[in-house]
Amino acid sequence: MSETTMTMSGASEPLKFHLEGEHHVENGTLLGFWLYLMSDCLIFACLFAAYGVLGRDYAGGPSAAQVLELPVVALNTTLLLFSSITYGFAVLEMQQNRRGPMMAWLVVTGLLGAGFIALELTEFSHLIAIGAGPQRSAFLTSFFTLVGTHGLHVTCGLIWLVVLMVQVSKKGLIPANKRRLMCLSMFWHFLDVVWVGVFSFVYLMGVLP
C-alpha cells in the first residue's frame, strides 16, 4: 500500500500494483500434502460420527464390551506408537544424510506397522468367526468401517514405505526422495493421531459399563 503511494507520488518509475518481494511458497509439496491429510481427517470425522451415532445399536447382537479385547488393543497401540518414534529416528538420520541407519529404522518401522496390521486382521477374523461380522449389527458395521479404514490407510503407508525404500536404495538420498520421505512421515504420524481417536473413542469408551 505504502509502496504504491510512494510510486505514485514519486512518478519517477511506472505505476505498479504488485509487490516485488512476492515469492512462491517454498515447500509447496508439504503444504499440499498437509491439505490432503486434512481432507482425510474429514473422512475419518464422518466415520467417527457414524460410529458415535450407531455405536450402541447392538440389534440383539454382542455389545462392544463383550467382543472388544483391550489387551490386544493395548499391544496394537504400543506397536503404532513405537513405529511413530522409529520413523522419527529415520527422519533424523535422513537429515544427517546417513542412508544405512535410515534404512534400518525404516525397516523397523515397517515391521512394527506390519505387526499392527497382523494383529488387527487377527482380531477381525476372530470377530467374524464368532458371528460378530460387519453385517451383524449397526454397531459392528460402523466399527468395521472405521477401524478397517484406518487399517487400510496403514496398509497403504506400508506399501508406500517399501516403494520408498526401493527408491532410496536405487537413487540414494536425493532431494526428491527426501521430500517423499517427509510426506510419508506426515502420513505415518497422522495415522497415529487418528489411532488415538480410535482407541479412545471406540475401544476404551466402548468397553466402559
Partner: protein
C-alpha cells in the same frame, strides 16, 4: 521448540528446492513427544483395564480429554506443527478442519440422538398399547 524454520528468504540463498531443509526435527523433540504420548496412553488404558471406573460419565470425559491432549502432543512433536510453518497456512488449514470436524461430530451425534428419541413414540414402546 527447537525446530528452526526458515520462512523468509529468497530462492538464491539455498541450494535445495525440496523444502525438506525447512523442517528440522530433533532427537529431543521426538523423545519428549514419545514420553508424553506414552504417559497419555498408559493412563486411560490402565484406568479402564483395572476397572477403576464405576460409571461411564466422568470416565468418558477423562478419556476424551486425555485423547485431545495426546493429539496436540502428536501434532506438535511428531508433525512439527506451529503457527509459523508454511507461513501459517498449515495452521489455517488445521483450524478450518477442526471447525468442520467439530460441526460434523457434534452435529451428527446431537441430531441423531434426538431423532432416535422422537422416532419412537412413547406409546409404541409398550406392547400393551399396540393395536
Amino acid at each position: 521448540m527447537s525446530e528452526h524454520i526458515e520462512a523468509q528468504h529468497g530462492h538464491d540463498e539455498h541450494d535445495e528446492h525440496d523444502g525438506v531443509s525447512q523442517v528440522h526435527a530433533t532427537l529431543k523433540g521426538y523423545l519428549r513427544g514419545f514420553m508424553l504420548a506414552a504417559i497419555l496412553t498408559i493412563i486411560p488404558f490402565s484406568l479402564v483395564m483395572t476397572g477403576a471406573f464405576a460409571k461411564s460419565g466422568p470416565a468418558d470425559a477423562l478419556i476424551l480429554f486425555l485423547a485431545a491432549i495426546q493429539i496436540v502432543v502428536h501434532m506438535v512433536y511428531f508433525l512439527h506443527m506451529n503457527t509459523k510453518s508454511e507461513g501459517g497456512w498449515n495452521m489455517l488449514a488445521l483450524v478450518f478442519t477442526i471447525v468442520l470436524v467439530v460441526i460434523t461430530l457434534s452435529g451428527s451425534i446431537w441430531i441423531m440422538f434426538h431423532l432416535n428419541d422422537n422416532m419412537m413414540p412413547a406409546a409404541m414402546q409398550d406392547p400393551r398399547n399396540l393395536p
